[in-house]
Symmetry: C2
């Protein structure tokens, strides 16, 4: 699906694109005048865009946007900041799976350099979220929170997120099993490579999370995330 | 986890490594003499390897292998061959998730060039499977079947795989919902980018698969696979 931004709209019902997305439509979609493309307006409805003009430098689409985007999962993902190499994949996967709110949290085993990575900049995170939305045919960006300090977030913010729903702490070796159909909204915390340290586990449990053991297999973060979403929703 | 091969064993209980894995232990594990490493013997038990010698060109480990590898999922994954770029990730993810048997199947929308890719060679597939096993702390390779012809596999082999268990066809827009706790063994078919064509869907249904609709979100193959495994097991 091609995501359109408010500034692409020349007037209601007509979009004009140039640059990277124009090239993408030419080269990947191989669209021609008269073709219908699946499109969605960021934060708004989805539908079809019929190609009116496709020339060097300009693509015009006649829009009929009559579909609602898919509902978000009632899921807050609290993710210890992964290595930059892993971050992009996990952020895009979270958006494609329909995570409503993504919290990137510091932890003992999160290296300081991860926070300084260009991939942690808001525009880079947004780019990955947009890729995830395009993949999944969704138009609504998840909310993103950067929690650079573990304790203030876990002690002051997390109990409020968990209240009235279910909080889950993915942690191997705990033997914890989630309720088969947990009460929504769900808050799910996934640790860094190497796991949470004991003091972090204690803080997260005190904030209202229940331990959830994924079994003996250690999965990559984005694989574990998708498996948990498949299990919980 | 460090995977050991039968040829690494100098005698029972003593492994000698060189080359890439030696470098990995030096540089990533940063191991020193006396350290214990998590190790597993390909196709056999897992446990600890204590570093006896670590010099230029040789690593010796004193092994105590007393743990069984985690059980495989009773799952045959029938996967339309993905683009080479995607193949590696999906194969490693399938191994890490515990898929017992992986069938790489031709389909209408599988380009011929995919079959000719170096990544489809047995040694390349094996490398990705081993990476998945190391990630997940498992030692048992999944069985792999290359099914270059769709109809003979689906008409002659697939019904036998499905008999006595549950066959599922992941296919968007069908509205099908899997049984909440499907009878094992499970055979799960996942289509190519762009999906199965109608004639393929008909053949797969005739072979005994039930349609399973994953909802409105279109997920990347490895994300869909993990979500399905989380849902089914």
């Amino acid at each position: 699906m091609l995501l359109l931004f408010p500034e692409d709209l020349v007037r209601p019902g007509l979009a004009r694109l140039s640059g990277r997305r124009l090239e993408h439509v030419r080269e990947v979609h191989r669209a021609e005048v008269g073709d219908d493309l699946a499109v969605g307006l960021l934060g708004g409805p989805m539908g079809q865009g019929r190609v009116l003009r496709l020339e060097e430098g300009v693509l015009e689409l006649d829009l009929s946007l009559d579909q609602a985007p898919p509902p978000k999962l009632p899921l807050t993902l609290v993710l210890a900041v992964p290595r930059p190499k892993v971050l992009n994949r996990v952020v895009a996967a979270a958006a494609s799976l329909g995570v409503a709110h993504l919290v990137l949290l510091n932890a003992w085993k999160v290296e300081k350099a991860y926070w300084a990575s260009p991939r942690m900049k808001p525009e880079s995170l947004r780019e990955q979220l947009l890729l995830g939305l395009e993949q999944a045919k969704d138009t609504v960006l998840p909310e993103v929170t950067l929690a650079r300090l573990f304790r203030p977030f876990v002690e002051d913010e997390l109990p409020g997120l968990v209240a009235g729903g279910t909080g889950l702490l993915a942690h191997p070796g705990t033997g914890g099993t989630a309720p088969r159909v947990p009460a929504a909204p769900i808050t799910l915390a996934i640790g860094p490579e190497g796991g949470w340290i004991d003091a972090e586990v204690q803080s997260l449990l005190q904030a209202g999370l229940q331990p959830l053991d994924l079994g003996p297999r250690i999965l990559r973060t984005e694989t574990a995330l998708a498996a948990l979403v498949g299990r919980l929703f």
